[in-house]
């Protein structure tokens, strides 16, 4: 990987152009998660907590192998388990490593009101800059994957960084490093897509998974984390992976048409009132004109 991966291409709530945008060509990176070879060992969960030096988070037992119900501000990487009974009565153990998807069109970044609190690097990594985070939680609402998590103590929001610190140094993310089965891969988005497609074809042709496919949802412009699924037609089975994720419509309406309408209305309103005053003046102008030195008092 290139050393220059922390060059920025998108900045949250930034007025004006983005410094250094398009000055350097760089390929997008991606993490490939092959759910069909995941054994649910949770080495990636531990590696994530270790590398990112996250404080202890108590686990909750719910009669499955899952560590806790959902990711937390200090637990960015969580394998979701689902015992799925197929139509023929056979059982499938579905395991999906869940973390930030690093969307090409990130809803968190779109919703964020704080300049530079969320950035997207030229390599596609979406990263939170907690020093600029104001803790409003708009990113929580903007995210279609339920990833950003609020810390009540620091009043900031946290999530997976795709180990941007490691990636800039030419290393793969910590989770990839720890995976014992090789179900996790890291590389350029193009390479990972090629690998994923080949694996999906293998599953279709040789393993009897007729609906095997790659999850790279176009609704968010594609993601920096892609999955190979046994059944790409039912991603919901994998711990509620949304079938067709989008930045919520209300967020897009708010940040798009409403912002324009609101700005035009506010500026137009002020101009309109000023012009009204120029044209008609105050209401007791007649008195003033009759008795210029006495005003409206009787």
């Amino acid at each position: 990987m290139s050393q220059a991966t922390l060059r920025i291409q998108k900045i949250s709530a930034h007025s004006g152009s983005i410094p250094g945008e398009n000055t350097q060509r760089e390929f997008a990176v991606a993490k490939l998660i092959d759910t069909t070879t995941c054994i649910g060992c949770k080495a990636c969960e531990v590696a994530c907590v270790e590398w990112n030096d996250l404080p202890f988070s108590p686990t909750t037992f719910d009669n499955t192998l899952q560590t806790m119900p959902e990711t937390r501000w200090n637990y960015w990487n969580l394998i979701l388990f689902n015992e799925h009974e197929k139509d023929d009565g056979s059982l499938m153990w579905l395991m999906r490593k869940n973390q930030c998807m690093h969307c090409a069109e990130p809803g968190c970044l779109e919703a964020c009101p704080s300049d530079g609190a969320i950035v997207q690097y030229t390599n596609g990594i979406v990263d939170f800059q907690q020093d600029k985070c104001i803790g409003c939680g708009y990113c929580i609402t903007g995210c279609p994957f339920n990833i950003p998590k609020f810390n009540k103590e620091t009043k900031r929001v946290y999530k997976c960084t795709l180990c941007s610190d490691r990636v800039t140094q030419g290393l793969e993310p910590a989770c990839i490093k720890s995976c014992p089965t090789g179900c996790l891969h890291f590389g350029s988005k193009d390479d990972m897509l090629g690998l994923a497609q080949a694996r999906a074809k293998q599953l279709r042709d040789h393993y009897g998974f007729a609906d095997a496919g790659v999850y790279d949802p176009p609704g968010v412009g594609g993601t920096g984390v892609i999955y190979v699924l046994h059944d790409a037609k039912q991603p919901e089975l994998y711990g509620g992976l949304p079938k067709d994720p989008h930045v919520p419509m209300m967020v897009r309406l708010w940040k798009g048409p409403l912002k324009w309408l609101g700005n035009v209305a506010m500026v137009g309103g002020v101009i309109g009132l000023f012009v009204h005053y120029l044209r008609f003046g105050p209401k007791d102008r007649d008195v003033e004109m009759k008795e210029p030195h006495e005003g409206a008092e009787p």
């Binding site: 007025s15 339920n146 209300m250 967020v251 708010w254 609101g262 005053y277 003046g281 007791d284």
Partner: protein, 221 residues
């Protein structure tokens, strides 16, 4: 003993707003202005510097909801003071039909408004209902992490409705400032010192003028 509302004062003046109503108005006004400035900072990247001027984005995010509670409290107090006088009357319909005359400062052609004209009543009810809506949506935005994932639509609605309602209040706010500071001279003083001239009452609120002058010996309260 302090003066009561509608009391005729010496030198041809009448008390329009007693102290508590004036004080409450300024609680609402100052809290609204803070909410407006910090809200605009969150609204547009081009205005985010407002948050920096007011002590930083984090502080603005922390205080905005608390100040919002003050604003809501003040608006509810206003409801207590003024709601009975803000009910629609027959003359209001006539007033809206003559809005063109009102805009062109032809006040002599307006139907006789009472203590409040129909426009002021509309402003009052706009702020009243907007404050409720802003409180409800604002509570969701205050604690987004408390809304479970399967109720996320509540967040989606709030994140849209809060700025829509705020924009609606901004329209009302601009008109309110314009009318009271620039258009109707004497109105601003009434919410500072409390009284207006009888001439003011007669010009802008003929119905009210009739009322207070005809029964000035028997005060309202």
């Amino acid at each position: 003993m302090s003066a009561h509302a509608d009391q005729i004062l010496p030198h041809g003046r009448v008390l329009r707003y007693p102290f508590v109503e004036r004080a409450n108005h300024w609680i609402a006004a100052f809290s609204y202005i803070y909410l407006l400035l910090t809200g605009l900072a969150f609204w547009s990247p081009a205005l985010f510097w407002l948050a920096a001027v007011l002590g930083g984005g984090q502080l603005s995010r922390t205080l905005h909801p608390w100040v919002g509670l003050f604003f809501f409290y003040a608006v509810m107090r206003m409801y207590g003071y003024w709601a009975p006088q803000m009910r629609a009357t027959a003359v209001d319909e006539q007033w809206w039909k003559s809005i063109g005359n009102y805009i062109q400062n032809e006040d002599d052609k307006m139907p006789p408004a009472g203590r409040y004209n129909a426009g002021q009543k509309a402003l009052f009810w706009s702020f009243f209902y907007a404050a409720i809506l802003l409180l409800l949506t604002g509570m969701v935005l205050w604690f987004p992490e408390w809304i479970p994932w399967n109720l996320r639509w509540v967040r989606y609605i709030s994140v849209f409705l809060h700025p829509v309602t705020a924009l609606f209040t901004i329209a009302n706010f601009l008109i309110h400032i314009y009318m009271s500071v620039f258009a109707e001279r004497g109105a601003f003083g009434s919410v500072i010192r409390g009284d207006v001239s009888l001439e003011f009452a007669k010009r802008y609120h003929p119905g009210w003028y009739e009322e207070i002058t005809s029964r000035s010996a028997n005060p309202r309260k």
